[in-house]
């Protein structure tokens, strides 16, 4: 089955987010209060190793498993969309203690209340699609 590898990668992601407690509201509160290195350590290690891996992939022009070149699409240059959008995201992140990935991992933990946040997130995405042309980008 072609899709199995994505499910397995997702399982690994779900486990690591759980076992490192990154899906916990308390850990997100601790991060925004600058009272522990834990979350900064997680993101920091991921970024340092990710930067190294990205550099190697580009330098040696590595290809994916199907032999296609791995491409990185540069993000559009803009300030308002990242700053405003990012700030709105951060407001929700600190309130619910969840970002889109951990939100779903929490379902696996049977925290059923999070389904309300998931419904809100889908609603918010839809609203963005509706208002997109009227927002500064």
């Amino acid at each position: 089955m072609k899709g199995l590898k994505f499910i397995l990668a997702g399982i690994l992601f779900g486990i690591v987010m759980s076992k490192s407690e990154a899906i916990s509201w308390y850990r997100i509160q601790e991060m925004f209060r600058f009272q522990s290195f834990h979350m900064y350590g997680i993101i920091g290690t991921a970024v340092v190793l990710g930067t190294l891996a990205t550099y190697i992939i580009k330098k040696y022009k590595l290809r994916d498993y199907q032999g296609n070149p791995i491409v990185f699409t540069p993000k559009e240059k803009s300030v308002p969309r990242y700053l405003i959008g990012g700030t709105i995201f951060g407001l929700g992140w600190a309130l619910t203690g969840a970002c889109p990935g951990p939100m779903f991992v929490n379902i696996g933990h049977a925290y059923w209340s999070i389904l309300v946040a998931v419904a809100g997130a889908i609603g918010g995405t839809y609203m963005y699609g509706l208002l997109r042309d009227r927002l500064p980008h």
């Binding site: 899709g3 997702g10 399982i11 690994l12 509201w25 994916d64 993000k75 929700g92 779903f104 929490n106």
Partner: protein, 185 residues
Amino acid sequence: MLEIVRQPWPWYTSGAVIAFVMVLLLFFGKSFGFSSNLRTICSACGAGKRVQFFDFDWRAQKWNLLFLVGAIAGGWISATLLAGDEAVQVSQATIQDLRQLGFSAPDDLQPEEIFSLEALFTVRGFLLLLVGGFMIGFGSRYAGGCTSGHAISGLSNLQWPSLIAVIGFFIGGLISTFILLPLLF
């Protein structure tokens, strides 16, 4: 071995595995970004008929939905097979600060004060999760990505826009933490 896995993982193992997952997806010919799934779900539900933003071939994104299903399964495995002592080891300073807001010390991954069904069936509890979730969905799409797409993938590719987005994440997060939560609790 299983005993070690069951304990909370230190930050460096976690960061390394997250980087590994990102690289794995790159070698699968994809890119790591979780919030795109929310757009895909809208599209799969037929939103493309009304709104152009959702009018794309969502089936090409099926791999990411499978990743999402895996993430739920990973959560389930952690909660059952790999479950350890689930009380989160946050710093004393955080416990003190949260106590002032009326939160008891953690005895689980999530606080009862927000995630219990009792809390959910209050106006404050319901709106906190619904509006919080709404801002996560709206904001991540507006910014073109969330923590995985910007903070991990974007910063790893040294993208300035991602750094601006991450700064935004913190501006919003600090407002919620130091202004909204004390107003709500």
